[in-house]
């Protein structure tokens, strides 16, 4: 429960009328933001609302085009990230900003390592100080460990230690829980409480409403790079907050549908991989939405990618429409009607640098071309058809996908696959990091695809989404199928229990 807000003091940091433009985009338009000592301020807004941009302005990575930042009432300008940390502002950024080739201590202290009398880095002191920080957050690894050898969650702990290594008065957390599992999220909440108790001002960015209402004292809402409103969390409810964010009420109910299941489309028999997963068996019916739930790192993406031909399983077979098919590459998968919308949109999704229409037609070139020669008119026709079906927002089909917002890039990737007229579409975390408005659109769309006879596999780490959308759910744990659930078994507790193997581990309190 949020502590009742202490009587209002003066803000430590206050941003006023900050504007930041990029070529062709105004990311921030005269926004304001105040952070108070000993309080958690949640910054909410849709994708592309300018939250991360605000963080980067506050940490000196970007220089604003206009407006003032005041610290304790004194206007200040951050020429570079060091100036911001000197002023006592530190951040856990949305992206992992660490160095695989350096050790843990160096990652924590790069840029402000302790020095000896000769001006050289004092390695012993650096490791000592790093150990103190790691102990503080309960991190279970050595300061000498190479970062590359750590798992994703531990890396996140390093990022947190790094943020704490600066003696800061302001701590910024940009979607810190997106990559963490239950256990670490709980530890993070504890940490936030500790920091609060130390009187630090905390800026907390998240798309998850449950956690905002759990740990924040205040909120600030941005929409399309503009300030919409702020206030005390205690004074607002979820629906009102959503309305402020999106500018309209959003139906948070998952679309209802009556599944119309057909024959078996896909049968996976005994898929094994030397290190990533083992013994995967399941079937998928026409028109079905099959959910895959698991904790981060349960191996779902790895398995989906092997189904899509990226990595090769060491054993196992895959039957499509009852016939055994060998899938050695994504090209084979596409030819067999299996397509995959990846989790990592920036790297694996759209081909940034190519125009929208070329992205959409890339896997369908065989159809739009004539004996290997491109037919541009055909391509534009196909691309427009699917772009319009997905209500893509773009200036022209010739525009570089890189200039689109994340949500629209996601649409291009989906359009690309629908244009191949697939049988099975795998959506890996389709709504991860997507704001509440677009999320509903994605859900609606999935329902529509299924009703048209397409089989959908949805990988998701969000329990409500998994339960709300799936006809059936497979839970994965440590690379194996832990359970297959449907009907009345589809309850949050069951999912969590199978995913985290609660039967053998001490039961953890649910939030």
């Amino acid at each position: 429960m949020p502590q009742s807000a202490t009587p209002v003091q003066t803000p430590v940091v206050s941003m006023d009328a900050i504007t930041k433009t990029f070529p062709g985009v105004t990311a921030l338009d005269q926004v304001k933001l105040d952070l108070y000592p000993g309080q958690v301020t949640a910054l909410v807004g849709e994708n592309g609302a300018g939250k991360s941009t605000t963080v980067k302005v506050l940490t000196g990575i970007y220089q604003p085009n206009g407006g003032t930042i005041r610290i304790d009432g004194t206007p200040i300008a951050f020429g570079n990230p060091n100036a911001a940390s000197d002023a006592g502002i530190t951040a856990i950024h949305q992206e992992t900003v660490l160095f695989d080739e350096l050790c843990v201590a160096e990652n924590i202290f790069i840029g402000h390592a302790p020095r000896n009398k000769l001006g050289l880095i004092d390695t012993r002191e650096m490791h000592r100080a790093a150990q103190v920080l790691l102990d503080e957050i309960g991190a279970p690894f050595s300061t000498h460990a190479q970062l590359r050898d750590l798992g994703i969650a531990n890396k996140h702990l390093v990022a947190i230690a790094r943020a704490l290594s600066v003696d800061a008065r302001v701590v910024i957390m940009d979607e810190p829980t997106a990559a963490l599992s239950h256990k670490e999220i709980e530890e993070l909440y504890t940490l936030v409480e500790t920091l609060k108790a130390q009187g630090k001002a905390i800026l907390f960015i998240s798309h998850k409403f449950d956690e905002i209402f759990r740990i924040a004292d205040r909120y600030t809402v941005f929409r399309d790079g503009a300030f919409v409103g702020d206030g005390l969390i205690a004074d607002i409810d979820e629906n009102a907050l959503v309305k402020m964010m999106v500018g309209r009420a959003v139906d948070q109910i998952f679309p209802t549908r009556t599944p119309n299941l057909g024959e078996d489309v896909l049968q996976v028999v005994g898929y094994d991989h030397p290190t990533e997963f083992a013994d995967i068996n399941f079937t998928l019916k026409r028109g079905e939405i099959l959910g895959f739930y698991g904790l981060v790192g349960a191996g779902r993406s790895e398995f989906m990618q092997s189904l899509f031909g990226i990595t090769r399983p060491s054993k196992g077979a895959c039957k499509i429409n009852g016939k055994i098919r060998i899938i050695r590459s994504p090209a084979d998968a596409v030819a067999n009607g299996i397509v995959y919308v990846p989790e990592d949109r920036g790297k694996q999704g759209a081909v940034i640098g190519l125009p929208i229409f070329q992205n959409i037609t890339l896997p369908s070139l065989k159809r739009t071309s004539r004996s290997g020669f491109l037919q541009l008119a055909e391509e534009f026709k196909l691309a427009r058809e699917y772009a319009q079906r997905l209500d893509l927002r773009a200036a022209s089909l010739d525009q570089d996908v890189g200039n689109l917002s994340g949500g629209n890039q996601q649409k291009v990737v989906i359009a690309k696959w629908l244009a191949t007229q697939p049988q099975v579409i795998i959506l890996d975390e389709p709504t991860k990091g997507i704001d509440i408005g677009s999320k509903a659109a994605v859900h609606e769309f999935m329902t529509e695809l299924a009703s048209q006879g397409l089989s959908v596999i949805m990988v998701s780490s969000e329990i409500p989404e998994v339960i709300g959308m799936s006809d059936r759910v497979i839970v994965m744990r440590d690379g194996r199928i832990a359970a297959e659930l449907s009907g009345d078994d589809l309850r949050p507790e069951t999912l969590v229990r199978h995913a985290a193997d609660i039967t053998t581990a001490p039961k953890r309190q649910e939030a």
């Binding site: 990575i61 570079n80 900003v97 790192g297």
Partner: protein, 327 residues
């Protein structure tokens, strides 16, 4: 845990060099005589110095193809200065060489930093430009040993504690680099910039500026080597050290410096250079026709890079508990 059991890349390379020495020694004992090894080291010294500069550049995800041209231009300039002003003391000559080299490095660095032109394009361009300038300033003429002052040509070969100054310069460079890379903020920034330029920005490291400094360092070392080279071989002309830039890059690659930046060590680069030096010096001794040299160093590069890639390949996350237990 697995990586601890396997010897580090450097150990393997060092063993390869030892093996090479043993093979050569079995056919010709004199090769491993300390005096001859000292000769081999001295002969490899310029390559070691340049490889260290190149290492810094490659670590920041750049490449410097202009080092050999820089070396030649500085060498010619110092030789001409020596001819014009034979009385100029050697420390001044060295200072000029380092300065000139650093300026050329800075030109590369500025183009990469401020104009964001890809390093390979920049240094491909400056490589030909620097060579051309040598021709312009020298009018294509050679500076021969009899025109140089005795002090000028004498410096790199002056013996000190049994080794020539040239060797000592290489040793000093290695020590300075080992300290710089491990213990100074610049050294760590160089690793950081190459390892993850995006993250470097977030930690307040200026990527372009770090790359700039890497080019300046590489240039300064090329300048220093320029003087040493010209003085040692007692001749300066347009084409000295022609194609040497690729040998320098090869030394780095054999030494395990990742061309993708961010990974590698000073020790690796030094061993890579020594490996090439030993091969080059051993061939004539064991009576293999010098015509084999090129093919051998090419194969060494291929083997080294294939090996490094295997050693460095991500082993994959171990999700499956059973697999973890088995391995």
């Amino acid at each position: 845990m697995l990586s601890r059991l396997f010897p580090a890349r450097e150990t393997i390379l060092a063993s390869a060099i030892m093996l090479l020495l043993v093979i050569v020694a079995s056919r010709f004992h004199g090769f491993v005589a300390p005096s001859n090894l000292a000769n081999v080291f001295n002969d490899t010294a310029p390559l070691i110095i340049l490889a260290l500069g190149q290492t810094v550049v490659i670590l920041t995800r750049c490449i410097d193809l202009s080092v050999a041209a820089n070396l030649a231009l500085t060498g010619m300039a110092t030789a001409m200065i020596n001819v014009a002003l034979p009385g100029l003391p050697i420390p001044v000559i060295i200072a000029i060489a380092v300065m000139l080299g650093a300026i050329m490095g800075a030109i590369n660095g500025v183009l990469v930093w401020k104009l964001a032109i890809p390093p390979i394009v920049v240094t491909l361009g400056t490589m030909t430009i620097f060579r051309g300038i040598i021709f312009l300033i020298s009018d294509g003429k050679w500076v021969n040993s009899h025109e140089m002052s005795a002090a000028f040509t004498g410096f790199p070969r002056a013996a000190f504690l049994g080794l020539p100054v040239l060797s000592w310069t290489a040793i000093a460079t290695v020590i300075i680099f080992a300290i710089m890379m491990a213990r100074t903020p610049l050294g760590r920034s160089i690793f950081a910039v190459g390892g993850n330029p995006h993250a470097a920005v977030y930690t307040g490291i200026n990527v372009g500026k770090t790359q700039f400094f890497a080019f300046v360092i590489s240039g300064a070392l090329a300048g220093l080597t320029g003087y040493l080279w010209v003085a040692r071989y007692a001749v300066a002309y347009v084409d000295i050290a022609g194609g040497f830039e690729l040998e320098v890059v090869a030394a780095c690659v054999i030494g395990g410096i990742s061309i993708a930046g961010g990974a590698g060590s000073v020790g690796g680069a030094v061993l890579g250079a020594i490996f090439l030096g030993v091969v080059k010096n051993a061939l004539p001794v064991v009576n293999i026709s010098p015509f084999w040299q090129l093919a051998i160093s090419g194969s060494a590069i291929l083997i080294a890079v294939a090996f490094n890639a295997r050693a460095g390949r991500a082993k994959g996350r171990i999700i499956l508990k059973t697999t973890e237990a088995n391995s």
